[in-house]
């Protein structure tokens, strides 16, 4: 019973946040003179013919898969108290290198796919690893270094695309890498529709959905059920308690970034292997930041992230039908942005309420001594200061709160002087 209740309370914050965001968006729609209810109807209108409806489902799912992977990557780092803003650059670089490498070799079907996946994960891990190493050896904040590396990755990708990995001819308006051979095309899941007795959609449902699901399961098991995962979560909840329990803090930072980067490397693969078959100037950017949004919405839990990814995918798909109804497609971006802001505010409030309620239950809790009087065995002066651990949801483990301080704190490390 407790389990169910706990689950329920953890849903309240995101649900409330989404509710608030929807209300705000409805107001925005009203302001432009349209009817919010129409907007809702349009968003849920999946089309008239069965084929159109399954097509809509496919669009949502195809959009959700990369978002899910992005959220997953970000959540691994969040769990450890790190802020991996560099997902953006990690997946871009991983995708182009994987596209280039994939087009340069010839392997039988499944092996070719595995090869590309491995390359992508390695590149993503490497790029993220730089951030981790800089943090533990030079004390550089992972937020700033990731942001810088994002730009560097974009520049490198552009150089590679117009240089050694160029596949398109001269003067082409859209430049891409060499197209992947068919052995590297991920089979689609459209057969599923036939099995379920539904109409065939126009485009293909990414088979990578399966890989994403697997990734989700693996990460979930890793974090929740293994010793390593325990160490990781403990480091995120309370770095000092984790150290006292034997966790090597610096090694943990690097390993976490490597894993997060490896998952990030997968983000571009659904599109690469399922539809575009090359990396080009039409590459979908911005998934890194949306991944952060999805991870926050899903509270770093793979199931929640899946739901968040579906929600965002659903909103993305709704952009086109909304335009037909004379509602600007950018309403979707506003909804998404508002959700993010509302979610973090709601999470913060929820966390404080839970703490306060739980602490209230503790008997004879000594008052916290703010001015640092000497504690002792007798009397209230022995009160322990409140733990700043998971505190203000900041990405910097060093400063205490799991998700704290970036550039400085937030996400700023405290290891060696400098920007923590």
């Amino acid at each position: 019973m407790n389990r169910v209740r706990g689950f329920g309370t953890s849903l309240i914050a995101p649900a409330l946040a989404i509710g608030v965001a929807l209300v705000i968006s409805a107001l925005v729609i009203l302001v432009i003179g349209q009817d919010p209810l129409t907007a809702v109807k349009v968003m849920f209108d999946f089309g008239d013919t069965p084929s159109q409806q399954t097509q809509a489902i496919v669009t949502v799912l195809n959009r959700a898969v990369p978002l899910f992977l992005a959220g997953l990557a970000v959540s691994v780092a969040f769990r450890m108290g790190l802020f991996n803003i560099g997902v953006e650059g990690q997946y871009r670089l991983a995708t182009i290198v994987a596209a280039g490498a994939g087009a340069a070799v010839a392997l039988p079907g499944p092996l070719h796919l595995v090869f590309i996946i491995v390359v992508a994960m390695l590149v993503g891990a490497l790029w993220a690893g730089i951030v981790g190493v800089l943090k533990v050896t030079r004390g550089v904040s992972e937020v700033i270094s990731s942001i810088m590396l994002n730009f560097i990755a974009a520049g490198l990708a552009s150089t590679l695309l117009t240089g050694p990995l160029r596949g398109s001819g001269e003067g082409a308006s859209i430049i891409t890498t060499r197209e992947l051979p068919e052995s590297a095309w991920f089979p689609d899941l459209n057969g599923l529709f036939t099995v379920l007795g539904l109409a065939q959609p126009r485009t293909e449902l990414f088979g990578f959905l399966v890989v994403a699901g697997l990734a989700g399961i693996v990460i979930s098991v890793l974090i929740k059920r293994t010793r390593f995962g325990f160490d990781l979560r403990a480091s995120g909840l309370s770095p000092s308690a984790a150290s006292a329990s034997g966790v090597d803090a610096r090694g943990m930072v690097v390993k976490t970034m490597l894993i997060s980067g490896a998952v990030a490397g997968l983000i571009g693969l659904p599109d690469l292997l399922g539809s575009t078959h090359s990396y080009g100037t039409e590459f979908t950017a911005g998934l890194g930041f949306l991944g952060i949004a999805v991870a926050l919405l899903g509270r770093n839990n793979p199931l929640g992230i899946a739901f968040g990814a579906l929600l965002f995918g659903f909103l993305d798909r709704a952009a086109i039908p909304l335009q037909f109804a004379d509602i600007p497609a950018s309403v979707v971006t506003i909804i998404q942005g508002t959700i993010v802001l509302a979610v973090v505010v709601a999470n913060e409030i929820a966390r404080r309420l839970v703490r306060r309620r739980a602490e209230g239950g503790a008997a004879v809790s000594a008052p916290s001594t703010g001015d640092g009087s000497t504690g002792g065995g007798l009397g209230p002066d022995g009160g322990l200061p409140p733990d700043d651990g998971p505190g203000g949801a900041g990405p910097d483990g060093g400063q205490g709160p799991a998700l704290t301080s970036a550039t400085g704190s937030a996400g700023r490390s405290d290891t060696t002087g400098g920007r923590a």
Partner: protein
Amino acid sequence: MTESAPLAVELRGITKRFPGVVANRDIELRVARGEVHAIVGENGAGKSTLMKTLYGMHRPDEGQILLDGREVVFKSPSDAIAAGVGMVHQHFMLADNLTVLENVVLGAEKSHGIGEKARRRITEISDSYALGLDPDTLVEDLGVGDRQRVEIAKVLYRGATTLILDEPTAVLVPQEVDELFGNLAELKREGLTVIFISHKLDEVRKVADSITVIRRGTTVGTADPATTSAKQLAEMMVGAQLPTPQTRTSTVRDASVLLMSGVTVAAPGGRPAVDDVTLRVREGEVVGIAGVEGNGQAELVDAIMGLRPLAAGTVELGTDDITRWTTRARREGGIGFIPEDRHRQGMLLDAPLWENRVLGHQTRPPSVKGPFIDRRGARADTARIMSEYDVRAPGPDTLAVALSGGNQQKLIVGREMSAAPRLLIAAHPTRGVDVGAQSVIWELLKDARAEGMGIVLISADLDELIGLSDTLHVMLRGRLVATLDPSSLTPEELGGHMTGAVQAAGSPA
């Protein structure tokens, strides 16, 4: 003796209660103008709570505060500051990256601006009271003694006529202490009143004109340093009645569990936190370490656990040299740890109890099966610990933050004992714990001792130390200055060693 001038500060019948505990009970304090008045008492005696009342940080439940004969009520520290009371906190509130000038004028910019005028005023204050401060130095570059003088300058700048210093010598080395006392003499000469909280009797007797002793929340009496000896003071502080250790058979065996040789741990700013400590713990022995907090006990613990590097010395566990071992290896090798600050080092507050049971033992059964966490095993074992160690909580899935301090501590004790360590480090094991849980924990420690576990017990609770220890060391300024026999110990002796008033003849220097 007739008093012609009203008392600078008088407290009558001050009482302050917190949930479950009475911090101050019927306190009486009388401080004359122009006097250096010391308030002494042990850790936890209620001194700081009293000072917070005087400084306006909270209101007393009963009693009156009189300044210069007039009753005052403080609603906040600003009221106190306006009335001329200035507090120099033990933990300095200074911004490292700002200069002395900036730190002093912050919040009081209206008095003399922040430029030349302020600089001149600060120099004036510094010269009048011999503080030796250069307004343009960065606080970061200042040593501890100088920082304290900046705090003093802060209150003087705001026109304080009564200064309260909270444990001012806690972080100072002897030369700095002498400098501080020189400053206090200057303040006195200028007609200011100083109230000085401490537990260091030798220092107090050197500088105070009058002493009030507080014990267990109430005033025990006043003393005149000129006519009262350190031993008598210690007796008042600690109480003439010391608990007699229960007669019990010695369970101390021959084999050594822990041997620390010449261990030194560096600390920023010169004096090492742990200075050439040699310590042995045998199987079945409880080695107690007494001492006022801040004399290196925490660093000693860190050294044993591998959380801090050693500047010199070795640590042996049984027959293994563990000086280079990681914390995890040490835990796996059989060291258990009940940390002093359980919230910071002992538990994950936002995690359920069973995960807290796993903490520290995440490489061994029953918490672990191969590379995986054995959830069922851990929960079952947590339930066992909860029943065996009387941890009162709804179940193993309850969040740790929901438990009272006592129950949290019992869980930690249970978890550490269950791993059957060879050596258990128990740092302030019953701090912040209700009386019932306290006796349970004491029984557990005694049983463990009987089974051959070696225990290092660090505590500020003399009942605990004397009642449990087989051997008792006193730690002062990073060194072990005395080794005492608990069964033949007198309170004055112990108090004296702890506060440095007594140098044990022939004890390690």
